[in-house]
């Protein structure tokens, strides 16, 4: 409960902090339409695949990008994947850091920019977590009839993976749990399980591990009872239509260079990343495989 209070407070700080961000963003947009000679603002979509609500960190990263690229950068932060996906569809974003599940969804529109490295690897897992007070459950099948928290309907590790695992076990994900709900963020899945609102949940390993370092009191109230196979980490993508090849390469180079730059290094550490890597879309074939099992691929 105490942990939740802190996160509530953070939420308020965030709510206050977002206002200047939006203002500065809109001012930027306005100025580009006025003076066509200066390059237009780069729009970067941010989603809850990482701890996207650390606004001070985001601001530092944004400024870093502006300095390195020599142009204005705007971060468009949304709390659900669906909203960022809509923005991409509407060509209102140039770049985005999204989950692999939405990437597969929007693959025709997008170009894989970079894949972050966690622990040196461009991959992550889904963690199955329960409340530490629950001493009886040890595996997914023990959770029958429980209240389960999913992260986001377009989350790989927070929605696709547990349903895929149930299907593999011969269970119907729709009826296996007594009740399921979405928290719209991995961090909130952890909070829901820690508070007892949900009895179990599925969460991004990257978020859990980063939080485990930042806020161990919260993660200590949850216990991991299942670790999935590795999947391609949530990718940074570019919109095929709005991003030129030059810009694509410029941004790719800038982000790759972060690992070699002292300030970039600091930012990567704060983000919980080792760096970025260039990968092929085949990295996400396992996601497609799972979607097929659940009858969600090819996308209707």
């Amino acid at each position: 409960m105490k942990r939740l209070q802190v996160s509530n407070r953070r939420r308020i700080v965030r709510a206050l902090g977002i206002a200047p961000l939006l203002l500065s963003g809109s001012a930027g947009l306005f100025s580009t339409s006025q003076a066509t000679s200066t390059p237009r603002v780069l729009r970067f979509g941010m989603t809850p695949v990482f701890l996207h609500d650390e606004y001070q960190l985001l601001e530092r990263w944004r400024r870093y990008m502006e300095v390195k690229l020599g142009r204005q950068v705007k971060f468009v932060v949304r709390d659900s994947y669906r909203e960022t996906m809509d923005l991409l569809r509407l060509k209102q974003l140039d770049f985005a850091w999204i989950c692999d599940y939405p990437y597969i969804y929007l693959q025709p529109l997008l170009k894989l920019l970079l894949v972050p490295l966690f622990g040196g690897k461009p991959s992550y897992r889904s963690y199955l977590i329960i409340n530490t007070n629950d001493h009886k459950s040890h595996k997914l099948l023990d959770l029958r009839g429980r209240i389960f928290a999913y992260a986001d309907p377009f989350s790989n590790t927070g929605y696709l993976v547990p349903r895929y695992q149930l299907k593999q076990l011969g269970e119907d994900p729709k009826n296996f749990f007594r009740k399921t709900f979405f928290t719209w963020s991995h961090r909130k899945v952890i909070e829901a399980v820690a508070s007892g609102l949900a009895q179990a949940g599925a969460v991004d390993s990257f978020v859990w591990e980063t939080l485990h370092l930042q806020d161990p009191e919260l993660t200590d109230r949850t216990r991991i009872i299942g670790r999935s196979e590795e999947f391609g980490a949530p990718p940074l993508v570019a919109h095929k239509d709005t991003v030129s090849i030059e810009l694509f390469q410029q941004v790719q180079k800038m982000l790759l260079g972060m690992a070699d730059d002292p300030l970039g290094r600091k930012l990567l550490t704060a983000l919980g990343l080792d760096g970025f890597s260039i990968q092929q879309p085949q990295l996400y074939d396992s996601v497609i495989r799972m979607m097929r099992v659940l009858g969600e691929y090819p996308i209707p």
Partner: protein, 499 residues
């Protein structure tokens, strides 16, 4: 029995009753005011808690509508958790738990899912919750419903969640009653301490006030009770010198005592002067009866003495008879106070030359005599009786002063009053002796015949004045006050009394 106890309480001394009643009134009023204020403050506290909670509940209920409609559990959880902060967990104004119930009285979400997990039925938490469920079950309920059950330590405030005309569910805000009581008690404690402070100030003031009132009243009562037996003393007014009714009562009492004392003195004086007058009439009557035959007897004896043929023995016998009869004559003459025929007004030298007359006695007794005469002009009083009065008093004083004593006398004339005062050292005169001092044949001195002061008294009476004797410590004092006219008049009518 009960009446007699009550009676005993009412019969208590005012010294106890005033402080007791005062203290009882102070205690009763302090406690009743404190109780009323505490009752009001509890009511206000509770009412403001309910009002605040209902307001929070209504706001939350409105915000919760979309979460209920869309089954957005996480958002609902965030909303109901937001008003609850650990830092003010003991404040009763903050709800301890917030529950959101579905129409079927199942928990949709609660601020503490460990205590109230979602999907559980409200009724399963005990009778109080079951009663609450029945209270809020009707489609239309007032907002808010305030519910309290003796079996539950919570104050429940229920706010319906209504969208349009559809009841979606109910929000329950649970406040800790022990925390409310604790808050009330801690505020009451400070009020109680203040009340005790007020008592600590008022009770001593009350005691002192009662003491100031009762002490003089008690004294007055004791003094009044003595009145049947003797004239009591006056009150010491410094114990209560205020101008209120009590103060006036005490000063009136003092005036009454003064009047009584004056009356007693007057009665006493009247008694003694009446007695003296009676004695005077008796003695003068007897003296006259004796004087007439005695004059004849003495004449006869004188004639007899001049006979030649008296033998030695007869002459001796006649001598004895004559001496005896002369002694009787002297005594009778002393009893018959005679006003002299001399009508001369008194002058200072009349009193000065008395010293010369007494010189022999003074030397014999080794007594010093001092005179202080402050009148210079003639006073319209016959000189002879005044001289005799002074002579008698001084003779007495010299006798009483004893060896190496002193005698002082003074005479003054002011505002038609002639005052003569004789003082001397010597054995004090007892109170009972003073009362009979002026009666004839009353003498407290060896060798005195007890007629000097009687004569003096008669003379003073005849001059229309009065005489008083006082004895203090080792000084005896006689004061004679005689009325004197302004101008000397030759013929002052003098009551010749006995002649």
């Amino acid at each position: 029995m009960r009446r007699s106890i009550l009676r005993r309480v009412f019969d208590l001394s005012i010294a106890h009753k005033i402080p007791l009643w005062g203290a009882a009134l102070i205690l009763v009023s302090t406690f009743s005011v404190a109780t009323l204020l505490m009752y009001r403050s509890y009511g206000d506290l509770r009412a403001s808690l309910i009002a605040g909670s209902a307001s929070l509940g209504r706001t939350l209920a409105q915000t919760l509508i979309p979460t209920l409609l869309h089954d957005n559990i996480w958002r609902a959880f965030e909303l109901v958790s937001a008003p609850i902060h650990d830092t003010i967990a003991n404040n009763p104004v903050q709800p301890q738990f917030i529950l959101v119930l579905t129409r079927k009285m199942k928990i949709f979400v609660s601020s503490d899912p460990n205590r109230f997990p979602m999907l559980t039925s409200l009724r399963q938490y005990g009778t109080a919750y079951a009663q609450l469920a029945s209270r809020i079950a009707p489609d239309k309920i007032a907002s808010p419903v305030v519910f309290e059950a003796p079996t539950s330590p919570y104050l429940f405030i229920a706010v319906p969640i209504v969208d349009g005309n559809t009841r979606l569910g109910t929000m329950i805000l649970m406040h800790s009653l022990p925390a409310l009581n604790f808050m009330f008690l801690s505020s009451s404690l400070s009020a109680a301490l203040f009340g005790l402070l007020v008592l600590a100030i008022l009770l001593p003031i009350n005691w002192y006030w009662g003491y100031r009132m009762a002490t003089p009243l008690l004294r007055l009562t004791r003094l009044m009770e003595q009145i049947q037996h003797e004239i009591p003393q006056q009150m010491e007014l410094e114990t209560y010198d205020y101008g209120d009714e009590l103060g006036r009562l005490f000063s009136t009492y003092n005036q009454m005592v003064e009047t009584l004392q004056e009356k007693a003195v007057l009665e006493h004086e009247m008694l003694s002067s009446e007695r003296l007058a009676a004695v005077g009439r008796l003695t003068s009557g007897i003296a006259h009866e004796i004087n007439n035959p005695l004059a004849g007897l003495l004449t006869a004896l004188d004639t007899l003495k001049h006979r030649d043929n008296l033998d030695q023995r007869s002459q001796h016998t006649l001598g004895i008879l004559e001496r005896g009869m002369l002694q009787i004559k002297d005594t009778v003459a002393a009893l018959l106070v005679e006003a002299r025929s001399e009508r001369r007004s008194l002058q200072a030298r009349d009193l000065e030359d008395i010293q010369t007359l007494l010189q022999g006695q003074l030397q014999k007794q080794q007594v010093t005599l001092e005179a202080e005469l402050t009148f210079t002009r003639e006073v319209a009083i016959p000189a002879a009786p005044v001289r005799q009065i002074l002579l008698n008093l001084l003779t007495n004083a010299i006798q009483a002063a004893g060896s190496s004593g002193w005698v002082k006398y003074s005479a003054s004339c002011e505002a038609s009053q002639f005052r003569l005062c004789v003082r001397n050292t010597g054995t004090p005169i007892a109170e009972q002796q003073l009362e009979r001092l002026f009666e004839p044949f009353v003498s407290y001195r060896e060798g005195g015949h007890g007629l000097g002061l009687w004569v003096t008294y008669q003379l003073v009476q005849q001059l229309g004045g009065h005489i008083e004797a006082t004895s203090e410590d080792s000084e005896v004092r006689f004061l004679v006050v005689l009325p004197a006219d302004e101008a000397p008049i030759d013929e002052v009518p003098v009551d010749e009394g006995t002649e």
